[in-house]
C-alpha cells in the first residue's frame, strides 16, 4: 500500500515539476530568440520576419535535445530512490 502511494504521489509531484520546467524553459528560449533578433536588427526590422524567425527557433527547440533533457525530472528521482534502497538495505 505504501509503495503504491509513493509511486502515485511521486508521479504527481514529478509531473508538476516537469510542466513547470517545460514552461520556464520555453519562455527562456523565446526570450533569447527575441533578444537575438533585436541584436541583429537594432532598428526593429520587419514584424512578420521577426515572428517567423522566432517561430522557426521555437520549432527547433521543440524538436531539439535540450527539451528531451527535461525528462531527467522523472529519471533522476527514480534512480535516486533505487540507489537509496540498495544502499540502505545491504550490509
Amino acid at each position: 500500500m505504501g509503495f503504491i502511494r509513493l509511486v502515485v504521489l511521486g508521479f504527481i509531484a514529478m509531473t508538476v515539476v516537469y510542466f513547470a520546467i517545460s514552461i520556464y524553459s520555453r519562455s527562456i528560449r523565446r526570450e533569447k530568440l527575441e533578444d537575438a533578433w533585436d541584436a541583429d536588427h537594432p532598428e526593429g526590422g520587419d514584424e512578420a520576419a521577426r515572428d517567423a524567425y522566432i517561430e522557426q527557433g521555437m520549432v527547433e527547440y521543440e524538436n531539439g535535445f535540450r527539451k528531451k533533457l527535461i525528462w531527467l525530472v522523472y529519471i533522476i528521482p527514480t534512480f535516486a530512490v533505487a540507489i537509496l534502497l540498495i544502499v540502505m538495505n545491504t550490509n
Binding site: 505504501g2 527562456i28 540502505m88 538495505n89 550490509n91
Partner: protein
C-alpha cells in the same frame, strides 16, 4: 506590526529548522551495551514520532519495537567546545518502509543483528550510528537508527556528505524557483500591467495597484495562458 513580523519569522525558522533537525540523518559515536525488544502502546501524542509495523506486516495498535541501548560519546558543546564524556542514548530500530521519512529502510532485523554483534561489554568496540529523530524522555520517544558501522576509535571525523549535498540541492532548487517566478513576472504579468498602466496612469497615480486588483488572479492567469498559445 514589526514585532509580529519578527516573531512570525523566528517561529517559521524554528519550525523549518526543527523539521530538518528531526528528519535529516545525524551520526553518533557510540558503544552498544545491549539490544532489546519492548512492547509499545502508543498514545495519541507520541504516535507521530514512530514509524509503522515492519514493511511486510499488518499495523496493530500495539506492537513490539526493537531498541538499541548505547553509551554515546557526547558531541562538542555548542559545536565548539570539545568534551570527553559519555551519556546514555537509546535508539529505536524501525522500518521506515515506503513511508515518511524517505529512508527506505526495510532491514531493521539485520540492523538489530549488526548492533548485537557490536555489543561492547567484554572488549571496547566503537561504532557510528546513523539516525534521525529525537530522544524525548517525557513522551517515550526515541531516535530511529538507520545504520551502524564499526570504527577503530571514538575520535573519528565524520563528514555529513548527505546533509551537505542536501542543502546545496535545496539552495539550487530555491534559486531555480525564484528564477522561474521572475521569468513569469517579467514575461507574463508585467506586460499586462504596463498596458493597463499606460491608460490608468493618466487617471490615477495608483493605477498599477488598482489594475492588478481589478484584473484579479483568474484574469491574469487566463491572459498568461494566452501567451503560450501558438500563433
Amino acid at each position: 506590526m514589526r514585532k509580529v513580523k519578527i516573531t512570525f519569522r523566528v517561529l517559521l525558522f524554528l519550525i523549518i529548522g526543527g523539521f530538518f533537525h528531526y528528519v535529516l540523518p545525524q551520526h553518533d559515536i557510540v558503544r552498544v551495551t545491549s539490544t532489546e525488544v519492548i512492547r509499545a502502546d502508543f498514545n495519541w501524542y507520541n504516535r507521530i514520532f514512530y514509524a509503522q509495523a515492519d514493511a511486510g506486516n499488518a499495523e496493530q495498535p500495539t506492537r513490539d519495537i526493537r531498541l538499541i541501548n548505547t553509551e554515546k560519546k557526547k558531541t562538542w558543546l555548542l559545536g565548539f567546545i570539545p568534551r570527553d564524556a559519555t551519556e546514555i542514548m537509546v535508539y529505536r530500530n524501525e522500518d521506515t518502509g515506503w513511508i515518511w521519512p524517505p529512508y527506505f529502510k526495510f532491514d531493521s532485523s539485520d540492523l538489530q543483528a549488526e548492533a548485537a554483534a557490536l555489543i561492547s561489554t567484554n572488549e571496547e568496540k566503537w561504532a557510528v550510528i546513523t539516525h534521525y529523530g529525537w530522544r524525548i524522555k517525557f513522551l517515550s520517544v526515541y531516535p530511529n537508527a538507520v545504520g551502524i558501522r564499526q570504527v577503530e576509535s571514538p575520535n573519528v571525523t565524520i563528514i555529513p556528505w548527505f546533509n551537505i549535498f542536501f542543502f546545496i540541492f535545496l539552495f539550487v532548487a530555491w534559486r531555480f524557483i525564484v528564477a522561474m517566478w521572475r521569468q513569469f513576472r517579467e514575461r507574463s504579468v508585467d506586460p499586462l500591467l504596463e498596458d493597463a498602466g499606460e491608460v490608468w496612469d493618466k487617471v490615477d497615480g495608483h493605477a498599477d495597484a488598482a489594475s492588478e486588483k481589478a484584473r484579479g488572479i483568474w484574469g491574469r492567469f487566463m491572459a498568461w495562458l494566452a501567451t503560450w498559445r501558438k500563433k
